[in-house]
Subunit: 199 residues, 2 copies
């Protein structure tokens, strides 16, 4: 399957929808099926980054995407404060998260938009969304549907192991499991889908 | 100023110190001042990444550094759970954080090791340190010394602004300030040091 992410930048929503329809018709003429999306990204959604003062001290949302077009996203449990995962968003995922109130990420291992929970049912409902001083990181406080897990290994949090402190010298640290029981069986949820962990 | 990070890999701590002294002497012979460090990184500190199962399910600390040699680090307040900042560590910073129990980062804007609080006094004492499933992200739970702030702009958390949810269409979102009072005056603490925010 080939995926095309086509972003239409325009200052009028109606004009964007019109362009989207025209594009779909043209692609159909070429024998390509186009999936239209209601969540078009407006040119006005994100502000241009003009000054340090604007980025740090103003109300402008002017995110800084890295060389791969991504911004880091910390996701915590809205109630307990536990860090559930660190994900990444492209502009489309950031826009969809703002618009829908459900966490969307960019999957670096699968190289596609990732509506968290679309496969597993473990949707993350965003309670609050924040951005940091230089606007290169986002923080989501979420409530997780279903079993409440966010980790593909089956644990509640991706951070299920701790690193002992105070170690010097040449002995290798041994991680400690802070979650000892999996919330779900990954085989039941994901079947034989490829594991996203890369060596 | 030129900075050299010289890492001595050896399986004996005493032998590392001996090599370090020899290296300092040789560098001095060349007219180069060498700063010795007690925190040498042992070859055994981090395990090689061999299998997905080892990385996800074992007690081996086998961190994945990115193309720039960095791993992301989420830092939260140990008591409130509030996310204070997202930083990055190289192998040296990770090792020093483990060894000393105080947060060390790699400053991407200044391109140097960064012992948080060395300038401002706002040292972060690590209460707990965790690593995620595929070991490409670290989570520090910290207690902050002094005024308790972690943000160079003067706020307690770097994430002092929220992004309103549910917005579609083409109106630019307006960030909301969730912290309205600065904990310290950056000019008093940092003087005329360059601002780390990059456009």
């Amino acid at each position: 399957m080939l995926c095309y992410n086509i972003t239409i930048l325009d200052d009028k929503h109606e004009r964007s929808q019109e362009l989207s329809k025209t594009l779909s018709r043209d692609l159909n003429t070429l024998g390509v099926a186009a999936m239209a999306s209601e969540n078009t990204v407006s040119a006005d959604t994100f502000a241009a980054r003009l000054t340090v003062e604007q980025v740090e001290e103003s109300q402008d949302l002017a995110p800084k995407f890295d060389a791969d077009g991504l911004i880091a996203c910390i996701t915590t449990d809205a109630e307990s404060g536990e860090v559930l995962m660190l994900g990444y968003m492209n502009a489309d995922a950031l826009q969809r998260t703002i618009a829908t109130g459900e966490a969307h990420y960019w999957s670096r291992s699968r190289q596609c938009l990732w509506h968290k929970g679309a496969t597993s049912g473990l949707v993350q409902e965003v309670v609050e969304m924040r951005i940091d001083d230089d606007q290169d990181a986002v923080w989501l406080r979420v409530q997780v549907a279903g079993s409440g897990a966010s980790c593909h290994v089956g644990y509640r949090s991706c951070f299920y192991r701790s690193i002992p402190l105070g170690q010097t010298g040449n002995t290798a640290p041994q991680l400690q499991f802070e979650e000892t029981t999996k919330v779900f069986d990954p085989a039941d949820v994901y079947g034989d889908a490829p594991n996203p962990t890369q060596l």
